[in-house]
């Protein structure tokens, strides 16, 4: 089938502002949007820039706005988005070139969540693992699935208003450790989350949950953090 792909283009060395360029290409309905971008870059316009790495929905590099909605280009089939496709960079982050955005504010917010295990207690007597029951592991299982693609954070109206807001992805990272029975940094993280740019700025628009390519219940995770902050209980 013949499809038309309208792509946001911006070259910082030439352009004052972004513009759109349309490309008409042949594609199979079962092709992915990433395949089409590769085709355009390889055969039509080698200057087209976008991020991609694993191309199988694991690395999270190719999150972009496809027909007005955040998706991974490598997980989006042409048959699901139609013959007229608009591809734009993620909103709320600076555009470096074409579909590539500056991810620094996103990762800065992630780092603020102390995304690592905090446990100062001595190791168990056998000196090996800190054991955890399947139920304890299941408590935060969903938030371990995050691939840091930024699809959630850049679909959030609160993040659009200010990139000081930690954003859904950072809050999911906090959830992953706060509810981990082996971690001892929950109070520290909940303190950070209670700041002006923490959970209070989540207004439950659910764009994050809809945008997540891993089907993480992002708003639910944020809701659980809010409840933990109010009750002080990690249940």
């Amino acid at each position: 089938m013949e499809i038309t792909v309208k792509i946001f283009r911006y070259n910082p060395e030439k352009d004052q502002r972004g513009h759109y360029v349309s490309y008409t290409v042949e594609a199979d309905p079962n092709d992915r949007v990433l395949d089409v971008l590769e085709l355009i870059k390889g055969h039509k316009d080698g200057s087209l820039s976008f991020r991609r790495s694993c191309a199988h929905g694991v690395c999270g590099s190719d999150a972009m706005r496809i027909n007005g909605r955040n998706m991974l280009a490598c997980k989006t089939l042409i048959r699901d988005v139609g013959a007229n496709i608009t591809v734009e960079p993620l909103m709320g982050l600076k555009v470096a070139k074409d579909l590539i955005v500056d991810m620094d504010p996103f990762f800065d917010n992630y780092k603020k969540m102390l995304p690592y295990m905090i446990n100062e207690s001595p190791l168990p007597a056998d000196g090996r693992e800190r054991l955890q029951s399947p139920e304890q592991r299941a408590r935060f299982d969903e938030s371990t699935k995050c691939i840091m693609c930024a699809a959630c954070t850049t679909s959030c109206p609160s993040f659009w208003a200010s990139d000081e807001y930690y954003g859904p992805a950072a809050l999911v990272a906090a959830h992953r450790f706060v509810f981990d029975s082996r971690d001892e940094g929950a109070s520290q993280r909940l303190e950070i989350l209670s700041e002006t740019n923490g959970t209070v700025r989540c207004h439950t628009a659910y764009n994050c949950t809809n945008a997540c390519p891993r089907d993480i219940q992002v708003t639910k995770a944020i809701g659980e953090l809010k409840m933990a902050m109010v009750t002080g209980k990690l249940e």
Binding site: M91, K94, A96, D163, T204, Y206, T209, K220, K226
Partner: protein
């Protein structure tokens, strides 16, 4: 180097966030409608003639009811889900129930206003 971070109102409204995002937008519009209503109401109490006329205008009443009731019912749904995070994964069902409740309540309210306007 690079384009400045700039999310315009039109691009924000253009995001295809589906049903939940629509309720988010309507909630803000409803809040604004309530703010306008209270301003007009207080000014009418003070004795501003034009505001008194606006308060008794049935079109104004319907606009305030339609948006104000949505704000109230949507706020109730948000509160319930906030208090029970486990229910959040059923947010689509919650929003569908909210719409049914809203159409019934707002429909009745508009009917009463129209009946009053026609009869009066």
């Amino acid at each position: 180097m690079g384009l400045k971070r700039d999310v315009s109102l039109s691009s924000a409204l253009g995001y295809k966030g589906q049903g939940p995002y629509l309720t988010y937008i309507l909630h803000r519009i409803g809040g604004s409608a309530l703010f306008i209503f209270f301003t007009v109401y207080i000014l009418s109490l003070v004795g501003v003639d034009s505001m008194q006329a606006l308060m008794s205008n049935w079109i104004f009443q319907i606009i305030v009811l339609v948006f104000g009731l949505f704000h109230a019912i949507n706020g109730l749904r948000i509160t319930i889900l906030d208090l029970s995070p486990k229910l959040i994964e059923h947010f689509r069902t919650a929003i569908n129930i909210e719409w049914v409740a809203y159409v019934l309540v707002a429909g009745f309210a508009v009917f009463v206003v129209l009946q009053n306007a026609m009869g009066g």
